[in-house]
Symmetry: C2
Subunit: 207 residues, 2 copies
């Protein structure tokens, strides 16, 4: 987390700095980003940077968290709109993300994040989903989800279902970048996979 100093400075200055960071992290991925570029672009001294943050990553994950938070809010709002239909919620969310990636303001930043998705970045987005126990976030979601049609025996299986959907969704998002597919094709592929997940990969219901 940024240091207290960062939250003490004026909102203007803070936003200038965040914009500079966003610009740098849109240029290249985290590991290639240069503090010196951010500092230059924000018009602050090198020393100041270290008065606000511990390091590059400190700043990066602060920014990324804002994106993640927005995403989670979108997700919940879609889920409500679709009356708890988790599958279609994921599909609509997937579509929404692909469209967001095309925008000029966020596209490159997210692109770099997803192209270099690792467990830490993933966790920022899926925070709480893949933990062993129920997190608050998952708990909040859980109540909104219609479990009638879910083929689950207990709560543990429910968590795994959510995790599976999450992972497959993330992976399809990344594929959209790496294969440079048009949105339509990505969406088709994704829906195919969701369909497969729903109906099961195995022919026999009981074996």
């Amino acid at each position: 987390m940024p240091k207290q100093t960062f939250f003490n400075i004026s909102k203007d200055k803070r936003e200038t700095l965040l914009n500079a960071a966003q610009k740098e992290f849109s240029r290249v991925q985290l590991s290639e980003a240069l503090i010196s570029n951010i500092v230059k672009s924000a018009g602050i001294s090198r020393g100041s940077f270290y008065q606000y943050f511990n390091d590059k990553e400190d700043l990066y994950f602060f920014l990324l968290n804002k994106y993640a938070k927005e995403s989670k809010e979108s997700f919940i709002s879609i889920l409500k709109k679709l009356n708890g239909d988790i599958f279609n919620t994921f599909i609509e969310m997937f579509h929404l993300m692909l469209k967001k990636f095309k925008t000029k303001e966020h596209g490159d930043f997210l692109r770099n994040a997803f192209l270099n998705m690792n467990h830490k970045i993933e966790n920022t987005f899926t925070n709480g989903f893949n933990k062993r126990k129920f997190s608050n976030e998952l708990l909040e979601l859980s109540d909104l989800i219609d479990k009638e049609n879910l083929n689950i025996a207990d709560e543990k299986e429910f968590r795994h279902v959510m995790q599976i959907l999450m992972v497959i969704t993330l992976h399809n998002t990344i594929s959209n970048f790496t294969n440079e597919m048009p949105i339509k094709e990505s969406l088709e592929n994704y829906i195919t996979e969701i369909h497969l997940l729903k109906k099961g990969l195995c022919k026999e219901r009981r074996r």
Copy 2:
């Protein structure tokens, strides 16, 4: 790919260098690894390094490819042993990998690779699986797999099934690290997910 020069030097020298690289990439992940450490540890001059490789990544992916190749061979051999049962093959493979991660010689290297898995590293391992068309590798596998019990309508769905299994498997592997779970627990979680995938996430068979 390494330059021709690298393949011209003596096998001894080559192996010394690869060992030095392995050591450094076991210490930290790719982006934090230092050429200067590799060079020092291998006892060659800085200039020589650049006579063999274009950069750090050139060397890294050469090494990683060797691991990936071994994995693929293991996979095929297990698949044959299990008469094309793809689900149990994945489970046995998963188990095998977890055990390999515990070994002293490969553990740290693989750990760093998986903890920082991105699409490029992933692609080294799953190479050919997630492409739009049938790759040679997938084609070779395809013949070995018993499709009788697979709930697939066509070849396209088959590719997606393979991709789903791959992605879920990778993710569970990474979880094993990040959550520092004992092998037994990881395996249980994984099997739960495979089971869910097989039977389908949705209750109704036809909707």
